[in-house]
């Protein structure tokens, strides 16, 4: 050993080094998305982690500067693609804040229904994937059936499933069909039973608890310093939720609780998400009750300058034709201003910082992507932990590569 030290010019510290470097990702099955972690390992313990992001960066902020406002919805789809409708609605709300239009109550409640459905879908994916990473595939396969039912509702509403491009500035492109309402009723009728079964499968499961309790814990103070939002922040015990702190889309009319955790570990994140699913269900039920008493023909606000008229009207009515032309050709006056509007996305506060200079496209549009902001805490959360803890920590953070890279 001594001899080789003298003869071969190795970098300093190499021979006595006890740690080794390991790549987790970019296409590791446990990363659930394209991002890389370069881990420095001491045996099975993590000494340091260096996350690398940007593998699927698509320059949405740059593209948005070259697109008319109504075409940006499709970009937001591809941020957190597990809950696209929330992103869509967030963008419409931003635009509506800029042009200051009042949205009818029924449209707001329809949006709430759609957003809460997406939240359920998003949380189901995340929580069942924690199960997968701890070795329980059953829950994952089981709840995906119900995520599928949610996607079928989306399909009835807007025609697509994953990247929904749902709604327009001012409301929805069309009213919910009867089939959509029926599927929704069916979903809230059969889902609670499945959800209870899912909880029975994991929540008090000894193996699951042993794997997740104390894994990837973070204190409330550090979480706030790291800009955590959403279920990850609430798991640390901070009851910050955009829906109640800065209400939008009529959330102030609903009665719901903000579930919080205590320790901020993987198990608490899991519990908070489960509790939120129940709250979302209750919000949907309340919204259905409220909608029942409202005029069923209203599905958009009266903003002819921004909301595309019915196609039949464009062919037969002069006024509709003029508005259609103005919107499509970019002749509408856009107010100047700076808007920040945020919605409670599947994994945190999804913000849109829009600067308009009166032009046809945004002067600047910045997406506050919750994933991107809290993922930087990952090294701190896994330092000293086992490799298997890092994997469950990662899946419980609900990292979505599309949102991470923007």
């Amino acid at each position: 050993m001594q001899e080789s030290k003298n003869n071969i010019p190795l970098p300093e510290g190499t021979i006595n080094r006890k740690t080794y470097t390991m790549n987790l990702g970019p296409t590791h099955p446990a990363t659930h998305g394209v991002f890389q972690n370069i881990l420095e390992m001491d045996g099975e313990r993590i000494v340091n982690a260096v996350p690398t992001v940007g593998y699927i960066h698509r320059a949405f902020e740059k593209i948005a500067e070259h697109r008319p406002f109504y075409q940006i919805t499709t970009l937001t789809d591809r941020l957190n693609y597990c809950s696209s409708p929330i992103n869509n609605m967030g963008w419409h709300l931003t635009m509506e804040k800029l042009i200051q239009v009042e949205i009818p109550k029924r449209v707001e409640y329809m949006r709430v229904i759609v957003m809460e459905l997406s939240r359920i879908a998003d949380h189901l994916v995340c929580n069942s994937v924690i199960g997968v990473d701890t070795g329980a595939l059953t829950g994952f396969v089981y709840v995906f059936e119900f995520r599928e039912l949610i996607y079928e509702i989306f399909e009835e509403i807007c025609g697509s499933r994953l990247t929904t491009n749902m709604g327009r500035i001012g409301g929805f492109e069309r009213n919910f069909s009867d089939a959509a309402w029926n599927k929704l009723d069916n979903f809230i009728k059969i889902f609670p039973k499945a959800m209870r079964e899912f909880e029975t499968l994991l929540t008090r499961n000894k193996i699951f608890m042993d794997r997740t309790i104390d894994a990837g814990a973070i204190t409330a103070e550090r979480a706030i310093n790291y800009g955590f939002t959403g279920p990850n922040l609430r798991a640390t015990g901070v009851d910050y939720d955009v829906r109640t702190s800065f209400p939008y889309s009529g959330y102030e009319d609903f009665n719901f609780e903000i579930p919080v955790g205590k320790t901020g570990d993987t198990y608490d994140r899991y519990l908070v998400r489960n509790a939120e699913i129940w709250q979302s269900l209750s919000i949907i039920e309340q919204a259905l009750e409220k909608i029942a008493s409202l005029d069923p023909t209203i599905f958009h606000a009266d903003v002819p300058d921004f909301y595309l008229p019915e196609k039949a009207d464009v062919y037969t009515k002069m006024e509709a034709l003029i508005y259609h032309f103005k919107i499509v050709m970019g002749e509408t006056d856009i107010p100047k201003g700076e808007v920040y509007s945020a919605v409670e996305g599947g994994n945190g506060e999804l913000g849109f910082y829009l600067i308009s200079d009166g032009g046809r496209t945004p002067y600047r549009l910045h997406f506050r992507r919750p994933c991107f902001i809290y993922y930087q805490a990952f090294p701190e959360m896994v330092k000293g932990a086992m490799l298997s803890d890092a994997v469950v920590t990662m899946s419980s953070l609900n990292l979505i590569a599309g949102e991470l890279d923007g």
Binding site: E338, G351, H366, F372
Partner: protein, 176 residues
């Protein structure tokens, strides 16, 4: 917490150094000299009454016409208890875009500043790891600046082999 209260506290502490107080929709916005950004952020964070301890967002903006102050760095701060958001802007010259880093104050700022550097070239002085985060390391320009247009969608000078299109007959006519 009212805007007047915030403005009063800030002008008492910093006087004329903070200016352009304006309400942009629901966010109270003000501008400051870039040399003072850390002092102001620390004050906002640590003052017991203001308590803006949550850095919600940080980003940069490019105003090519704003000569001498082309780049803006925007901090969106939040007081969670009072449910209040405020925005601080600092402007910097694009020829020497040095702004002090807030990453020691807010861990959030670490990656957000790397992103602002990556896309706008804001040089955050004192940042622990100011390297590109989204783009490739070899990139030698800052793509979100206004002088860079989007790629022409119909360009044909790309190396098609890289995109697996070499042998596709519909592209054959376009190759040299």
């Amino acid at each position: 917490m009212t805007n007047e209260f915030i403005q009063e506290k800030l002008s008492k502490a910093f006087g004329e150094e903070i200016f352009d107080y304006v309400q942009h929709y629901d966010v109270f916005t003000f501008t400051a000299d870039k040399e003072l950004n850390l002092k102001i952020l620390t004050f906002l964070k640590e003052d017991a009454e203001l308590n803006f301890a949550f850095l919600n967002d940080l980003t940069a903006i490019h105003y090519p016409e704003n000569s001498g102050k082309e780049l803006a760095v925007v901090y969106l701060l939040q007081n969670m208890q009072e449910r209040k958001r405020i925005r601080l802007k600092v402007f910097t010259n694009i020829a020497k875009p040095d702004v002090y880093t807030a990453s020691a104050l807010f861990s959030t700022a670490n990656w957000l500043e790397r992103e602002a550097y990556d896309f706008y070239g804001v040089n955050f002085v004192g940042h622990p790891n100011l390297i590109r985060i989204m783009n490739v390391d070899e990139m030698d320009y800052f793509p979100m600046r206004k002088e860079y247009p989007l790629e022409d969608q119909s360009r044909i000078d790309k190396d098609d082999e890289m995109f697996g299109r070499k042998n596709m007959s519909i592209y054959a006519g376009e190759q040299k």
